[in-house]
């Protein structure tokens, strides 16, 4: 591996660290523009680096960065493969949209927004790149600490209340994380993920219970972040309370949990794991399905558009978790396609919510729903609010963006959400074994996905009708191009994902296949050939 390539692997961690720390040195109103410029520049650089890394990873080789150049099972490694490169690019694109959106006004709502934002990116990138369980814990804590600050950005009672719950829940989850990590270390004597994959099949039968208990405790910590029902009670409130740019970048935070579950379940408990193969798969499948149902009911029940977004996050992560539980390469590749499309769609939706809400009085949603429920039509407000000049383009743009978000999130043609769900169901219903029979899990996924898509569509249409058609007293919001552009760009990426579905799906299939064959990962990280892996296993 050449020196430049090696340096690039660690750049997504170092760049936000340096940028965030540098911004801390500048303060005051005058330097706000400098700080904002630094943040945008660092995030753009991150997008470029992630794109280059994605290109590097697509050749099929894994770049392994050894910190301090210690050999793999002893030192800490960063591993770049297709999945981590994909997540890096997704994170940085979402981050760019969110930071550009915040420039219009939100970044002035509190201190150190830009530094915290970069530290969050550092934690996210580190979690995606690391190949070591304890290092993962450190990056998780980093991103959580930054997210505590960001959630409280803008202050106010609602945010502090939601933030308090969010912090307690995540601190408790971090302690579970440590318990799981130390159980696994106690049984196997290693924390390197590749080394673990080698050792798990050879764990003595009497220690296997302890290992699986450790893995389950660890999984609870990740599933809490991913928002699996019933560990997701905190999520909609926290996401709805967060300021819009923060909620938008938080759309990727649940995906960190999903990513780790996907990576570890396939690496440690894949087909080659001996007695523990497929451990926890059923839990993921049924838990994921329960999450989708809970999220779908939540979208129907939410009276507030931001909460609707929060519940859509649950539907999205439930879908990927259920697909992970099925554990077939075809389903995994479709789930990755879905993950990208739904994360972009939800990120755009959280930004859009604030724009369309701006023209309405606070609490209008609750009143509107109550009106619907009681069949009351309030005629009092009609005569007022003729002041704002109705700019057709603004409302038109907002409407188009809203429809775009709804299509992507609900999974309707012609946008990428539909292709993702179609690929997911096609793969789940064609398991590709000899019998040709459709497994029960495929049917369950089919029913739940179709119904949740329908529920999301109903909820989105209701919100759209209320916002755009049924509000006689609304004023046309003043929206700056810098706020509208990120939403449009995110949606355009979904459109591009639809048009280029062929190449994208091919990339996802290559990703899923290498995930389902962990031997390649192990031999790359431990720097031994396929022969060497067998030798290590033999010991």
């Amino acid at each position: 591996m050449s020196g430049v390539a090696a340096g690039l692997v660690i750049a997504p961690i170092l760049l936000p660290l340096l940028a965030g720390a540098g911004m801390l040195l500048l303060h005051g109103e005058k330097q706000r523009a400098v700080i904002a410029g630094l943040n945008v520049a660092a995030t753009i650089a991150l997008v470029c680096i992630a794109a280059v890394l994605l290109g590097m990873s697509d050749s099929g080789t894994r770049e392994v960065y050894r910190l301090g150049n210690w050999p793999a099972p002893f030192g800490i490694v960063l591993v770049l493969d297709r999945l981590s490169a994909l997540m890096l690019l997704l994170t940085s694109v979402l981050a760019l949209a969110s930071v550009v959106f915040s420039l219009a006004r939100w970044h002035r709502a509190g201190a150190h927004f830009h530094s915290l934002f970069q530290f969050l990116l550092m934690g996210l990138n580190g979690a995606f790149l690391t190949g070591d369980l304890f290092n993962l814990f450190v990056f998780f804590e980093l991103l959580l600490a930054a997210s505590y600050g960001l959630l409280l950005h803008g202050s106010g009672l609602a945010r502090v209340k939601a933030g308090l719950h969010y912090i307690v829940v995540n601190l408790a989850a971090s302690l579970l994380f440590l318990v799981g990590v130390s159980l696994i270390y106690g049984v196997t004597g290693t924390l390197n993920m590749a080394d673990l994959a080698v050792r798990v099949p050879h764990v003595a039968p009497e220690s296997r219970g302890l290992l699986e208990a450790g893995a389950a405790v660890l999984a609870v910590a990740f599933l809490l972040k991913a928002g699996m029902w019933p560990l997701s009670f905190w999520l909609p409130t926290a996401y709805a309370a967060a300021s819009p740019p923060v909620a938008s970048i938080f759309a990727i935070m649940t995906k960190v949990g999903v990513y780790i579950i996907l990576r570890l379940s396939l690496l440690l408990f894949g087909e080659e794991a001996g007695a523990s193969a497929g451990f926890g798969g059923d839990w993921l499948l049924w838990g994921g399905l329960a999450t989708i149902i809970f999220g779908a009911i939540g979208t129907l029940a939410s009276q507030d558009t931001a909460r609707l977004g929060g519940f859509s996050v649950l539907v999205s992560s439930g879908t990927v978790l259920a697909a992970t539980g099925i554990g077939q390469a075809g389903v995994t590749s479709a789930a990755l396609f879905y993950l990208v499309s739904s994360t972009l769609g939800i990120g755009a939706f959280f930004l859009l919510v604030e724009l369309v809400e701006r023209g309405r009085e606070p609490g209008a949603d609750v009143i509107a729903v109550t009106r619907e429920a009681y069949g009351e039509e309030d005629e009092l407000d009609e005569a007022e609010e003729d002041v704002g000049v109705a700019i057709v383009a603004t409302m038109g743009l907002l409407g188009v963006a809203f429809i775009g978000c709804a299509l992507v999130i609900a999974g309707l043609p012609p946008l990428s959400g539909f292709i993702a769900k179609f690929a997911l169901l096609a793969a789940a219903l064609n398991p590709g074994d000899r019998s040709g029979a459709v497994p029960g899990s495929g049917w369950a996924l089919l029913v739940v996905l179709i119904l949740s898509g329908f529920a999301t569509l109903v909820a989105m249409s209701r919100a759209g009708l209320r916002i755009f058609w049924a509000s006689p007293d609304r004023t046309v919001p003043r929206i700056r191009a810098i706020e509208m552009a990120p939403v449009m760009v995110l949606l355009m990426i979904c459109v591009a994902q639809t048009i280029l579905a062929g190449p994208v799906i091919r990339f996802m299939q290559a990703t899923a296949q290498s995930l389902h064959a962990p031997a390649g990962y192990v031999s790359d990280v431990l720097q031994v050939g396929a022969e060497g892996v067998r030798q290590v296993e033999g010991k």
Partner: protein
């Protein structure tokens, strides 16, 4: 020693869990601290705790069973630092919540009796 360690971890964890389920923010923060002590002790225990054994291996390696495993100690050190920092951060949020909501209830409002 195993028994003392096990009882200690169990007591700390049980008290911690009970406290974080209490309705006052101060009880929650004490509960989280107790839980983190329990977890730190647990990490040490999972590294095959030995008393009085050196962690560094001398020139002549000899029997590794005579030495303590240094890795769990490094892990505990990191975990202590992180839990200390997050507890301090939580304390700030706790005070903000107390100031804004004028109550120390975890929900930011007193339950209706």
């Amino acid at each position: 020693m195993e028994l003392v360690l096990a009882i200690g971890i169990g007591t700390l964890a049980a008290s911690g869990v009970w406290l974080i389920l209490r309705p006052r923010t101060f009880q929650v923060i004490i509960g989280l601290s107790l839980l983190s002590y329990a977890v730190n002790l647990f990490i040490v225990a999972m590294g095959r705790a030995r008393s009085g054994a050196p962690v560094l291996i001398a020139k002549e390696i000899g029997d590794p069973a005579k030495y303590a495993d240094p890795l769990p100690q490094a892990l505990v050190l990191t975990a202590i630092v992180i839990s200390f920092a997050t507890t301090a951060l939580f304390l700030v949020v706790l005070l903000a919540s107390r100031g804004l909501a004028r109550t120390d209830h975890v929900d930011g409002q007193e339950p209706e009796a």
